[in-house]
Amino acid sequence: MSVEPFIGLSALLFTIGAIGVLVRRNAIVVFMCVELMLNACNLAFVTFARAHGNLDGQIAAFFVMVVAAAEVVVGLAIIVSIFRTRRSASVDDASLLKL
Amino acid sequence: MSEIFGNEAWWVVLLKALCIFVLLVVFTLFNIWFERRVVARMQHRVGPNVWGPFGLLQSLADGVKLALKEEIFPKHAQKVVYFLAPVITTIPAFLAWAVIPLGPEVTIPFTDTQTPLQLTDMPVAVLYILAVTSIGVYGIVLGGWASGSTYALLGGVRSSAQMISYEVAMGLSLVTVFIYAGSMSTSEIVAAQAADGWFALPLLPSFIIYMIAMVGETNRAPFDLPEAEGELVGGFHTEYSSLKFALFFLAEYINMVTVSALATTMFLGGWRAPWGISQIDGANEGYWPVLWFLGKTLLFVFLFIWLRGSLPRMRYDQFMKFGWKVLIPVSLAWIVVVCVMRRLITDGDLDPTMILIIAGVVVAALLVVQFLPQRQTPEEPEPVRDAFAGGYPVPPMPGEQAPPTAAVPTGARGEKED
């Protein structure tokens, strides 16, 4: 089974995620886009593992899942705490810090 | 796990898929009737007995009735999601059965094709079941959210919270089974139980935990809080009517059967004939095993109904507390025990079964203790009545006498740290 289509798919997902992070304004959505990127990575890992015939990639996918979970926990905690204070999770409303 | 899966003729697959589908639908219809009859008996009633012999066609009639009801799109509903939610809930319910082994290899009648009575199997079958069933949660929470009604929303959130809470316990309880079977493929687990007895005995605590978890997982009494009519009317499907409601209903009953079937496969030796019958040769060949299997499953279904008939509904906090503070630690501890024991046994040091049984009994006892009527944990003492609660004078409630001296406003009164 050839690798290209899977890598293409993962690249597509990754790009979608990246663009989403850049253009979307809702923190939650941005965050979901990041998770999408991570999962694109997972797909790439598994595909390459298949291509190389070793399991490293699959193990990597495991670790990535864990990390993603941890990120979810931390990230949602932060976003919720902001949401509780300013009733909106928009990245733009958070503008006390200017460059 | 035989190589045959995934390499069969397309028509065989189609046939088996259709059979499973039909089986599930029929089983559901039967279960509804079964439940109503049994509960009726438990409540000294008769139950449906008009349509068909023993009223067997009652649920079919209900289904038709539902189909003829008007379907409603509430004003505040998110149309698309509201529309799709039942579908999302139903499909996974069916899918879970794809890997449930109903029996050994048989020859399909009128042909000479050999095929196992199982749609397919894979090395991670059980994981697949868990994954698919938890997809159903999406349907519920989305349906609740899309209804645009407060009750439905709360019901959806609640049921999802409760499902995931008990899914953890369920998943943990299965770990020991995998340790014993050395595989996550359903057919191999069944085979393993053929070798060394039903896992229900050596893994009694896991079995008990699983059974509790499965009741919680399917939102059945005494854990049917999402449909707690008293608080939430119908829960997540408050706003659903007609066939959409029917689908939710169907999915719920299929899930009930699914977890029962999984329990059978995991702990009760799957389609293999129970001890006694299994001595008769030929009991485990041909189409007989389907009988054993359905029988065992029906046993669990009866358990469900029995519980519903006999136990009152739990309070939500009790329920969560039970799931998080009892089931999870116990199952973790049990996993540890099993690990160590198993290792000691394979090292061939000490007599296996004794220890396991003892350990099992101990943990089981612990578990049972949880069911005994809880001694009333003293609530934090009634805060001294503050006649100026929130800065406003408050008249004493009935049965509450004002303190002799008018209390002064005390802001920090009765604060306790987090």
């Binding site: 991570l38 790439a44 | 920090a412």
Partner: protein
């Protein structure tokens, strides 16, 4: 068929003891949170954390004292351990020590409670909305987030792991382990909570974004080399197997992730906001620790794994270094907030370190690695000290970080002003401060590697930056104080000792850098 049992891997627990101690103490800290009554929690945590750090430091010294010499083209010390997931070699152990020192200083800053009316710099309850009654109540009850200590230890453990990871996957995990606690800690400021929460959110979103890039890069490199171990990757790279595009894409993405962590232009956007928003102790800890860990990891990846492809990545490093130095220096001129100013200066410093990294001098003598290690040490200590000083200058609303409020500090309290000046001079690289020797060594390494144009740009950049630092010094000493002028709160021995230590180290590194230089030269080679 019965597959043969997997034979247990042998892990040199003794060699990893510093890491294990730090993480173990962090877990203990969580238990303390769970069981010790609130009254004693804070103190217990402080004592526990400090004890653990010191123990880890001792262990590090012990590990470092008997690193086996590894021959080869260059004499390196130490070797891979933990199934090759980590490599405890010279740079790794040195970085451990360095990070642990930063950790000790940082924890001492965390524990400072005298500045803000007996309360730490961290919010009472992060869950309460700012300005709400709950918050006031929590403050009145003197509730405190002593969780920051376990968090800091986790972050520290992650940093140590990151600096010594010898395997791309381990590196990613370490990266997250060090980042996640920092994200949280950024949001815990007691004063200006909205600012702090925003900082946390920005840091988190951008950080997660960049680590996703890092991860995708790892995926590509894995696809190219078929393994995560840096050694295998380097052999694959040197043999030029497989499609180069995978390798190039992978390197680029990994570089993005790392450059973000070290706050190099154009991935610096988070730095000023986070530095400003985060509680100052956290900022100090982060500025010193993250940079050190990330740069060592970067060195390891690019010197060990991608050494064979240096012609592909050095141009990028050159460009980034130039842009970073100039940008950091120029923009810092426009700053009016001390913490932002320090943030931009940290960006510029990242550029300087990159200059050293572009030198690629290996072998004996002053290698790029050793130069950078020295730089990181000097910079880290100075920056911790600087932020510690920032903690002291306060008014009714907490710290006053606006520069105009700092005017006339030299008159208000000459001592503090002088110490701060010392740190600024060290940043500027004035002789007889650590900054001078460190800047010196990276530039020397870069020039030796033939990157003299970078050195020239670096000199120009430091001249620009200089202008700003000197302007601040003028402000401190010669400008008339605004209104009643800034007030310097007398801190507890913790903070003051931190400042003293930082100042002392800065001077010693400037005047008698000999021993440290020799040390970094001894440890200045990675084990391949």
């Amino acid at each position: 068929m019965a597959p043969s049992p997997i034979d247990a891997p042998d892990i040199e627990y003794a060699t990893l003891s510093p890491l294990l101690i730090v993480l173990g103490v962090a877990v203990l800290g969580v238990l303390v949170e769970a069981f010790v009554p609130r009254a004693y929690r804070f103190v217990t945590q402080v004592v526990l954390a400090l004890a653990g750090l010191v123990a880890a430091l001792v262990a590090t010294v012990w590990v470092g004292s008997d690193l086996p010499e590894v021959g080869g083209d260059v004499v390196a010390r130490g070797g891979p351990t933990g199934m090759g997931a980590l490599s405890v070699d010279g740079p790794a152990v040195f970085t451990w020590g360095m990070l642990l020192v930063f950790g000790v200083l940082g924890v001492m800053l965390f524990a400072e409670r005298r500045l803000d009316g007996g309360l730490s710099a961290f919010t009472s309850q992060a869950s309460t909305p700012p300005g709400s009654g709950d918050e006031r109540r929590a403050t009145r009850l003197r509730i405190e987030h002593s969780e920051v200590f376990p968090l800091a230890l986790f972050a520290l453990g992650g940093m140590m792991f990151f600096a010594s990871a010898n395997d791309l996957l381990a590196m990613f995990v370490a990266l997250e382990v060090l980042s996640l606690p920092l994200y949280l800690m950024c949001g815990l400021a007691r004063r200006r909570r909205l600012l702090s929460q925003e900082a946390a959110m920005k840091y988190f979103l951008l950080g997660a974004f960049s680590s996703a890039f890092f991860l995708y890069g790892i995926a590509f490199v894995y696809g190219y080399a078929g393994s995560f171990a840096l050694g295998d990757v380097s052999t694959a790279v040197s043999e030029r197997i497989g499609g180069q595009n995978l390798l190039l894409a992978g390197m680029a993405l990994i570089l993005v992730g790392l450059l973000f962590k070290v706050a190099a232009v154009p991935f610096h956007a988070w730095t000023p906001d986070v530095y400003q928003g985060a509680p100052t102790p956290v900022t100090a800890f982060m500025a010193a620790g993250t940079k050190a860990a990330a740069f060592v990891a970067m060195l390891r990846i690019f010197y060990v794994a991608f050494d064979g492809a240096r012609w592909d990545w050095t141009p990028v490093i050159w460009a980034v270094a130039i842009v970073t130095m100039l940008f950091g220096a120029i923009v810092s001129i426009a700053q009016t907030d001390v913490k932002r100013m320090l943030a931009y200066s940290s960006i510029a410093h990242a550029g300087f370190v990159l200059v050293g990294l572009a030198g690629l001098v290996t072998g004996s003598g002053l290698t790029s690695v050793s130069a950078i290690l020295f730089y990181l040490l000097a910079y880290g200590v100075a920056v911790i000290g600087a932020f510690a000083v920032v903690m002291l200058v306060r008014d009714a609303g907490g710290e006053t970080t606006h520069l105009s409020r700092w005017a006339g500090l030299g008159k208000e309290s000459p001592l503090v002003a002088c110490v701060f000046t010392l740190f600024l001079l060290s940043f500027a690289g004035i002789p007889l401060t650590g900054g001078f020797i460190s800047k010196w060594s990276v530039f020397a390494a870069a020039w030796e590697g033939g990157a003299w144009p970078l050195v020239v740009v670096g000199v120009v950049a430091s001249a620009i930056a200089l202008f700003f630092y000197v302007r601040v010094v003028v402000l401190l000493f010669f400008a008339p104080p605004q209104g009643d002028g800034p007030s310097v709160v007398v801190p507890s021995p913790l903070t003051s000792s931190v400042i003293v230590v930082a100042a002392a180290v800065t001077i010693v590194l400037g005047v008698l850098p000999g021993p440290v230089l020799e040390l970094v030269q001894q440890v200045g080679a990675f084990v391949r």
